[in-house]
Subunit: 334 residues, 2 copies
């Protein structure tokens, strides 16, 4: 952990050659120490941008927010974790007028979905339903299977493209997309937990207790998982083919329905003519139906996974925060 | 014109029974007097929301902005008028740190297009091209013709649904969509005029000098125009049918291409499988290709015309402005 009140040089070699100077200190990572460091700052505007996937970091949000430290996060653990942590964050934030941004943790990752919903609700619109393709990864996999590839091979391909979670089982079991749905549902005022999201997963039920070989000479996780999946490839291919024979396309349909309070993600056959079958490659599609946007919904579509897109979304959150803190004219970044 | 520093009661009958009181004054509309009234206000935060389509009002923007009065507008006359007025607004705004919002004047009307582009550019992305269906009205007309209706009847239908400009010739000649394209192009850094937009229009060339009968007993404009159009109905129907016979759909394709600097709106046949043929009813579709969003673009789609949608967009601009001026937590409007 490198700390410096005067800014750090991101090109510098702090990490390999730890050394103290008058401009920075270098020490083992310690979140409590980091909090103290931020709290001692004379600068009124402090923000933490959490690019980890760590529960330990997420657990610190209430404390940071209560101290007036803004939080921008790509980490879904607080927004989709137990309601207790989520509510603690909300309370801390309101008490201290700190801001908490998490656009990249909801459906669409970097796409402007949560900020659009915020504008709609704050300007008096009533959201009825948000549905669509919320997982770029599952969308990529079902598209690849529809194009003729077995699931086990499609998974290897998605992994090679950087589209999978660190543990690709989180994609197949739908854990990642369920997290996004919980973030969205809470944003829309529903109070629910991860376990409340009705989920149909790509992981064969026979593999639900599957664990990889973690010994020294073991194959990489992704290859072990692909090999285990191969025996069940035919199952998804059959579903996709059956749908196609009926003029339908099988899609991983996510939904938060405010009229029923039900959140779900299920493999659903939709007519080819449906807007929601148009997800190409790793596209996400988010269709928002509201009092104003009906019968036609407002639709936001685009790539929903990948480093650049997520970084872009975090930067968007940073801009939204900055606009509330500093003078308006932010120079174009060259 | 009714003025009052302590707020006005929108339900009150100021208009029919003008009267002065200690809380407001009532007088003939006078933009110079309005400016003086605003400038004398002790409140530092002043905003004009222009819901007119008036050139006279648009001409006042530079003066208002130079006085630090923010401007939010649904009026396209300044953003798409002569560059001189546009540049005056920009200069005045920068000099006085006043803010100028005009989301509803670009493609998509109330859809979150310009604010999304702003975030993209300010976070360091490079936009290559924005294309799509920018006119809800023309989209509605071509969809209706594709469904078998003659253009002259489709126009009556669109008018009855409130989708047309006050003078529906502005829709048919593409003037309205060209204005949106100029607003978009300037937002993306191009310097161009209305006349620079390459335009293919639905108005038959034979009717370019057509003028309605304005005598007392004349039919309403829309009915006269529909009657004049009827003789040319077959022309558009033939184009639409020819496209359909080749597996294509004829769409009013708008485009701002940053690599060539060309802005255009042309009746273009696209393969049915194209994302841009999916505009239903009066939908707009805006596809943004950038360094980050490629090969798949970021797509925003939804109804792009109508009172509620435009009001919603203006309210969104008001929220964006408010967030830069007041404390962050804006209560939900019930």
């Amino acid at each position: 952990m490198v700390l410096g009140y005067d800014g750090l040089d991101l090109q510098a070699d702090y990490w390999d050659a730890p050394q103290d100077s008058s401009r920075f200190t270098s020490q083992p990572a310690d979140l409590v120490e980091l909090t103290r460091f931020l709290n001692d700052d004379f600068n009124g505007n402090r923000v933490i941008i959490d690019c980890s996937a760590s529960q330990e970091v997420a657990d610190m949000y209430p404390r940071w927010l209560a101290l007036g430290i803004h939080v921008i996060t790509a980490n879904k653990k607080a927004g989709s974790g137990p309601s207790e942590l989520y509510n603690d964050c909300r309370q801390a934030q309101e008490g201290a007028s700190a801001q908490w941004y998490y656009e990249t943790t909801g459906p669409g990752s970097g796409l402007p979905v949560l900020c659009t919903l915020k504008d709609m609700v704050q300007s008096g619109d009533t959201v009825h339903k948000v549905e669509g393709i919320f997982s770029g990864t599952i969308s990529y996999l079902t598209n690849a299977v529809a194009a003729g590839l077995p699931l086990s091979e499609a998974l290897l391909q998605a992994h090679a493209l950087g589209l999978c979670e660190p543990d690709p089982r989180d994609d197949l079991t739908g854990l990642d997309v369920r997290r996004k749905i919980v973030v969205l549902a809470r944003e829309l005022g529903l109070s629910l937990e991860l376990a409340d999201v009705i989920t149909e997963q790509l992981m064969p039920v026979e593999l639900s207790d599957w664990e990889p070989d973690t010994s020294d000479n073991a194959q990489p996780l992704i290859e072990q998982l692909s090999a285990a999946l191969a025996a069940y490839d035919e199952r998804l291919t059959a579903c996709v083919t059956e749908a196609a024979d009926n003029g339908m396309k099988l899609v991983p349909l996510g939904s938060v329905d405010l009229s029923t309070g039900i959140a779900s993600v299920t493999m659903t056959p939709l007519p080819i003519s449906s807007r929601l079958t148009r997800a190409e490659a790793n596209d996400n599609i988010i269709a928002i139906s509201s009092e104003r946007y009906s019968p036609q919904p407002l639709i936001i579509q685009g790539p929903g996974a990948g480093c650049e897109i997520t970084a872009s979304g975090l930067f968007g959150d940073m801009l939204a925060l900055s606009r509330t803190l500093v003078e308006w004219t932010i120079p174009k970044i060259e």
